[in-house]
């Protein structure tokens, strides 16, 4: 887009001195703030050699923390995906009263402190909460157990899939689905063979981001899990525990695994953005509020 302007006068800020200074200053700040933390994780994790690193991450408490984190993601991410698809379908394919309000409510967890989320769950399922005594009588443990961790993770990631799909499906309109339905396709067939091929990359994009957040969630899970070593410790909580045990190298070894997850997430993100998912394909600002008016 800016290619053809190069033959004309230079654009604003294209002076060599200004350009080089700005690039240098920004990259130095970026290196200090973003790259250095990543580098120090790797250096610290292996500071006592590979043997020690291997011993730490194969330690039974660490293995259990990894196991719990993966199980949580395996439950929370698919449920969130179903919710995200259902919410996007309801919001973009139909008009109903209170639709804009519903979109705002879906986005709420995105702007709420994870600590508040954890505390809120305590007042539902804790002993001092609304349903806590009821569950206690029934012998069901929600808090300080897997269900609590999964619920808190689902809260903090509730908007992740929906917010990728809603703008895209809004922009794509309803014509294709209406054509398929009028030709006699069932609802699920319409979704499966008409809608899904058009949204698959955006859907995967939302799933990848949701998974990264579920596996890395700290604040909300910290409140509801009770941090029981080898039982209700997810990997991020296990990092804190090792760190406070003055096992810094162990904490960084565990952190190294999650940093690896972050790097894989970013690579997946770049790949999916090349397929047209994510911000590149999206209108500049949140579209849900205008698209319906301009149709």
């Amino acid at each position: 887009m800016s290619r053809q302007t190069h033959t004309k006068s230079p654009r604003v800020g294209d002076g060599a001195l200004f350009r080089r200074t700005l690039i240098a200053l920004t990259l130095i700040a970026g290196t200090v703030l973003v790259v250095a933390p990543l580098a120090i994780i790797a250096v610290q994790a292996f500071s006592r050699g590979f043997e020690y690193f291997a011993a730490t991450i194969t330690d039974s408490d660490t293995r259990h923390a990894i196991f719990l984190t993966v199980v949580t993601a395996l439950i929370a991410v698919p449920i969130n995906t179903i919710f995200g698809v259902a919410a996007a379908w309801a919001v973009t394919k139909f008009d109903f009263w209170g639709k804009r309000f519903l979109i705002v409510v879906i986005e709420i967890p995105f702007s709420i402190s994870p600590i508040v989320a954890g505390v809120a769950y305590l007042f539902v399922y804790g002993l001092q909460g609304i349903f806590g005594p009821m569950f206690q009588d029934a012998g069901i443990r929600v808090l300080f157990a897997l269900p609590g961790i999964v619920l808190a993770s689902m809260f903090v990631t509730a908007p992740f899939v929906a917010r990728e799909l809603i703008p895209l499906m809004q922009a794509q309109g309803r014509d294709l689905e209406e054509a398929a339905t009028s030709l006699g396709a069932s609802g699920f067939r319409t979704f499966w063979s008409v809608t899904l091929p058009n949204i698959k990359w955006a859907l995967l994009y939302g799933v990848v981001l949701c998974n990264a957040r579920v596996m890395g969630e700290f604040g909300a899970v910290s409140v509801v899990s009770g941090n029981i070593r080898g039982q209700t410790n997810t990997l991020p909580l296990h990092i804190e525990l090792l760190y406070h045990d003055y096992n810094t190298v162990g904490a960084f070894a565990a952190a190294f695994i999650l940093a690896g997850l972050a790097v894989v997430t970013i690579i997946a993100k770049v790949f999916l953005e090349r397929q047209g998912a994510g911000r590149r394909a999206r209108p500049t600002l949140a579209a849900p509020f205008v698209a319906e008016k301009t149709q």
């Binding site: 809120a120 991020p236 500049t284 600002l285």
Partner: protein, 274 residues
């Protein structure tokens, strides 16, 4: 515009959506508000206006404001160099901008602490210069700035990409200086997206917990953020105080959410006209 909708699945999709939103989002937040409200106005006020709580608001809001101000400059500069310039490694930098979103906050917390500790890679030279970062408010600001920097880059970047070169050329042909063009032509166009990014960045900083608690030092009245005070009250089994203080964070988040939505709506009106 009103035509009959032939598409199936309204009941199923809306049913799943409402059930999930009610169970996962509305029920816990309702329970928290109910718990806080059941304290009664006087007890509630005593907790939320206690000296330690007020000090924690001051620490949190000040640090979030300074971190956001830093990210405003750094984020716009980063978006600018990514869109306007070509340099080796540009695409790598573009990808790395998302690292703070992808990196779990606890990992970011211990990494930043190690980096800025008095014997750390950056902490040691800064100590020599007389600047202490870890276990001070400055450390809180750095943790907040780290976790929220992508917000501003990612809201400003697309608008900058779509900027019509003709606008600048018109201003140049009229003899305006680069600074004047930036201030009077480019900045007003970026305005709504910058505001949206700033409000997201500030809201995230207000609620940040994982990255902050490792580097903060967590001294009451000095480096204790509001989210941590909530957590401490829980550990003391003081559920009433935890509910009241959490409700303050919740109200602040709602206010920020309304502000963000109003700014976005305004930004859309603005861009829709052009």
């Amino acid at each position: 515009m009103r035509r009959r909708n032939v598409l199936p699945g309204l009941k199923l999709s809306l049913g799943i959506t409402l059930f999930y939103v009610a169970l996962i989002v509305a029920l816990p937040l309702g329970a928290l508000i109910f718990k806080a409200a059941s304290l009664g106005p006087e007890a509630y006020w005593n907790i939320v206006s206690s000296e330690r709580a007020v000090a924690s608001y001051r620490v949190t809001v000040t640090a979030a404001a300074i971190a956001t101000a830093f990210n405003l400059v750094f984020g716009v500069a980063l978006a600018w160099i990514l869109v306007r310039y070509k340099f080796p490694g540009r695409r790598l930098v573009d990808a790395i901008v998302d690292l703070p979103f992808a990196l779990p906050t606890a990992v970011a917390g211990i990494a930043l602490t190690a980096l800025f500790a008095p014997n750390g890679w950056l902490g040691a030279p800064l100590m020599d210069a007389g600047i202490r970062v870890a276990y001070t408010p400055l450390g809180i600001m750095i943790a907040m700035a780290f976790t929220s920097v992508p917000f501003i880059v990612r809201t400003v970047q697309p608008v900058l990409e779509d900027l019509d070169p003709a606008l600048e050329e018109a201003a140049q042909s009229l003899g305006a200086s680069d600074l004047s063009i930036f201030m009077r032509v480019i900045l007003p166009i970026l305005g709504p997206s910058i505001l949206a990014g700033v409000s997201l960045c500030f809201a995230r900083s207000l609620g940040e917990f994982g990255a902050v608690i490792f580097i903060a030092g967590n001294q009451p009245f000095q480096t204790e953020i509001t989210a941590l005070l909530t957590y401490i009250r829980l550990e003391e089994y003081d559920y009433a105080a935890a509910a009241a203080i959490a409700s303050v964070i919740l109200i602040a988040a709602f206010v920020m959410l309304i502000v963000t939505n109003l700014l976005q709506a305004r930004g859309l009106r603005y861009t829709a006209r052009s």
